[in-house]
Symmetry: none
Subunit: 409 residues, 2 copies
């Protein structure tokens, strides 16, 4: 987990389970296989929290040092638990194997610990208490860890959990900068922590969108829903249609639902996004109901042949221009016979920029039966970032047109 390649997914699953019973996670640490370093982190954590969950380091080999580090941090001796040895021996025997001696390490238990059964591996878990705080040791493999944290939560943590649980809403916002969103919303969310049911707010900026995470600490879901629904409403009133989702759906799913609700079909013509727009639209299960086709027209010849973009238009304005974006949208709509046509043409970089049309310049056109909109935007970042942001902007233009046109009403 300290290499550049390993993403720590256990901590995400554990955080999710703990949050659900109202336990906030104050910090996470990944520590080398070093007894001193791990004992130091444990000692520091025990000064300020009620629960420490450790995963991994319970295997049989010399670099599995979690048991020793916990014993060191708590000043406890390690005892060999012969019942565990027998259980491990039984697991090996069940596969017709003899238990290697090295596996006896897995039966070492800090004195006073409760042994937690592991149905999917040889390493048992351990539960220790120190004053009001508890320490849980779980094996690292997710397949073994997941059912064990479920059991620990249900049998040991829920009875200890005091008071409020945490409930969350994720609001997704597109077409505005983080500081703009914060400037408008801070006066609203700044009042929430002082309310009877307090709400904490986090703003997360990702390429092409902003997320607002609202977390309420409440005794029940009913109480939480009431305050969170009201809070979401306050933000929506301020940001209007820039909020595209309050239920976790991505932009492609929101656009898909709008198309489906209106009984509309769509076809897209892409140059710089190279198929990413079609791919994102078709990431949504059931999208074949409204996505008719997509044209990835990297060459001008393809734009002329498939979309009927006039060569003169390409010559006069260049492939990256609003007239060409519009001709692409109209062309794909006509050819595919769909309600909606989208055209995207731009310079994804790193090469191909000019002073008038620098890298990141993208022309986007959306044509519906009642409306046509064309915009030129400029995105920052590398090639893949420009591609992603262009698809985000195209889907958002379409979303706003579908909402404005009342396609869903």
């Amino acid at each position: 987990m300290l290499t550049p390649f390993r993403v720590d997914t256990n901590s995400l699953a554990i955080t999710d389970r703990l949050n659900a019973i109202g336990c906030s996670v104050l910090s996470k640490a990944v520590v080398a296989d070093d007894i001193e370093a791990l004992a130091r982190v444990l000692t520091a954590a025990l000064e300020s929290v009620d629960l420490v969950v450790c995963t991994g380091g319970l295997g049989p080999t010399a670099d599995d040092i979690t048991r020793e580090a916990v014993a060191r941090a708590l000043g406890l001796p390690l005892d060999m638990d012969e019942a565990i040895v027998e259980r491990i021996r039984g697991r090996f025997a069940g596969r017709g194997l003899t238990m290697p001696d090295i596996n006896r390490r897995q039966a070492m238990v800090p004195r006073g610990a409760v042994v937690l059964e592991n149905e999917h591996g040889t390493a048992p878990g351990l539960w220790l208490e120190r004053g009001d705080a508890a320490i849980v040791l779980l094996p690292g493999p997710p397949r073994e860890m997941t059912p064990m944290i479920e059991a620990v939560v249900a049998e040991r943590l829920v009875p200890r959990a005091r008071g409020a649980r945490l409930f969350r809403r994720v609001m997704k916002i597109v077409g505005r900068t983080e500081s703009d969103v914060d400037a408008r919303v801070q006066p609203i969310y700044g009042r929430w922590p002082d309310r009877a049911v307090p709400i904490n707010t986090t703003i997360l900026a990702a390429p092409g969108q902003i997320e607002l995470h609202l977390t309420a600490s409440a005794p029940s879901r009913v109480d939480a829903d009431r305050v969170l629904d009201a809070a979401v409403g306050e933000v929506q009133a301020e940001l209007g249609s820039a909020v595209y989702s309050v239920d976790g759906r991505g932009l492609e799913a929101v656009v898909g639902d709008l198309l489906r609700a209106g009984g509309w079909t769509i076809a897209v013509a892409e140059s710089c996004t190279g198929g990413l727009l079609a791919s994102r639209l078709t990431d949504v299960p059931g999208s074949s109901a409204y996505v008719e086709r997509g044209a990835v027209c990297y060459s001008n010849r393809a734009k002329v042949e498939w979309l009927g973009v006039p060569e003169a238009l390409l010559a006069e304005h260049g492939a990256v221009s609003e007239p060409v974006a519009r001709a692409m949208a109209e062309g794909i709509r006509r050819v595919a016979g769909t309600h909606v046509g989208v055209g995207v043409t731009g310079i994804a970089g790193p090469g191909g920029g000019t002073p008038e049309k620098p890298v990141g310049t993208v022309g986007i056109a959306v044509v519906t039966p009642d409306d046509a909109r064309v915009r030129t935007l400029r995105f920052f970042g590398g090639r893949e970032m420009v591609k992603f942001q262009a698809t985000q902007a195209a889907m958002n233009m379409l979303r706003l047109m579908l909402v404005d046109d009342g396609a869903t009403s």
Copy 2:
């Protein structure tokens, strides 16, 4: 980063850069936006390490508390740096905007800190020293952080680095399972740790490919290159053409280089992958030199109209079949006038499966001037996993044909 949703990718990139100069990472921590908690973690870290790198929490809002926490941990006052204020004001002005007052927070500097320029955002980085140890503060967005850690490593850490450095090779393998790769390669890499210049090996399984990470600890690049080149050669001799990359390139870049070397052009016709194959091919800078166009033919009508797939073929074999995949590949090749045509048709799920053609069934055809290959594959996982694995398999079929055909010779 303490929610169940956020994966910490910055620490992976930073670990990679630090390992490359021989600096091992002893621990990582993710801490809540809580000044006391963060100051406590910093204080504990400074007791045992030479370098602490913090990312994030340098934004303008009230929950950006890294500056305050570091000042607290080191017992330093925070000063307003008017030069930073002017730089931030200038960034806003460059976009025709007025700097909000709140951004002045980003100009607060613990006394004695060196300011590190951020070319891609408003938050400057900071460098502080405490005895022999250094503390680096970098902004959280990867686009801003990455060039800044590069600069810190080159200008500040390399001169401080001591002793052996770590060197790495990443071998990428496609078309084989993790256990198959491990069974074949374990007898080879099992001998490496005992050599004069030892090599550690990690196998990582990702959807659609396996990676083998070889790490040598050596006093110089020359020593490392010698043993790593030999080790890579041993694995290649065992796995043959299943190894598609030993230099970090992705499959789309490897295929692109082969096409470019042969002076070949390509066009693709996609059904179930919905544009993802075209998008991945065009993720490679300069791919417009060989990607002519792509057709995302979600409807049968598009397959008939654009690719000339006979309606009778669709009726007889169904859209997901080898004859249709082949007709799509031949059709797009003919229409686009390219050397290579690729056709992909399948059932991405979750709906649409049948007993004979379950979800995950994908037909892939690749046609070149000298050769044509068609395969039916079955992938597991959700819709996006099936799409990705299908693009991986299609690119690998093409790669093997390009290698076999000697297009590059």
